[in-house]
Symmetry: C2
DNA sequence: TAACTTTACGAAGATCGTAACAATA
DNA sequence: TATTGTTACGATCTTCGTAAAGTTA
């Protein structure tokens, strides 16, 4: 599992719309949609209930989706901390 | 970055030897070696100092390596929790 | 029917394993 | 020189984007 999938899911939930999320992530909708379907297959359960219509679309997090969303945020935070902590170390060493 | 890279780095450090770690992970040494080099390139600094010789090899974690090791363990723990929490949810729903 | 998601499929890129090479106590 | 790690390179697999089809208020 690529960590970008966690990050992209968080962005998707925060954005509330797959098309706009894909634009923000510099991805196409099909790519992001496939990532979501991959996650749901990997975890064995739906994460979102998506409703489409003429006036736009919306979705609700399933119970599993809520859990995954929280875990994904934690995982992304740790990865970001890894980068920044190590970068801070390297930077200080140079000075 | 695939989360398996974090997991494999943790196993590498815990094993203390690239060949044995690769065997445990059902990977070849070259594949694991490339993963380490990828991580070092990605984070911009060496993570291990490896010493080779006739009687085997050993390595020391660099300072950045120590930080990465701790973060990698945390990240893996969160991913494992995501799987188990969601699986527990699905399992309970079935009952 | 408008707005959006999903599926199909070909192409580009990533990553593995095998084999050969390099390094060091 | 024995025991590792590293490079080179071809093959396989993955995942993206484009285009077409499907879905629903």
């Amino acid at each position: 599992m690529d960590t970008s999938y966690y990050h992209n899911f968080v962005t998707l939930v925060n954005t509330g719309n797959m098309t706009r999320a894909a634009n923000r992530l510099h991805l196409t909708q099909p790519a992001l949609s496939k990532q979501l379907r991959y996650l749901e297959a990997e975890f064995g359960t739906p994460l979102l209930h998506i409703r489409r219509g003429q006036r736009g679309s919306s979705f609700q997090l399933t119970e599993a989706g809520h859990i995954f969303y929280e875990k994904a945020k934690q995982l992304c935070a740790i990865e970001i901390a890894a980068y920044s902590d190590i970068e801070g170390l390297v930077h200080n060493a140079i000075i």
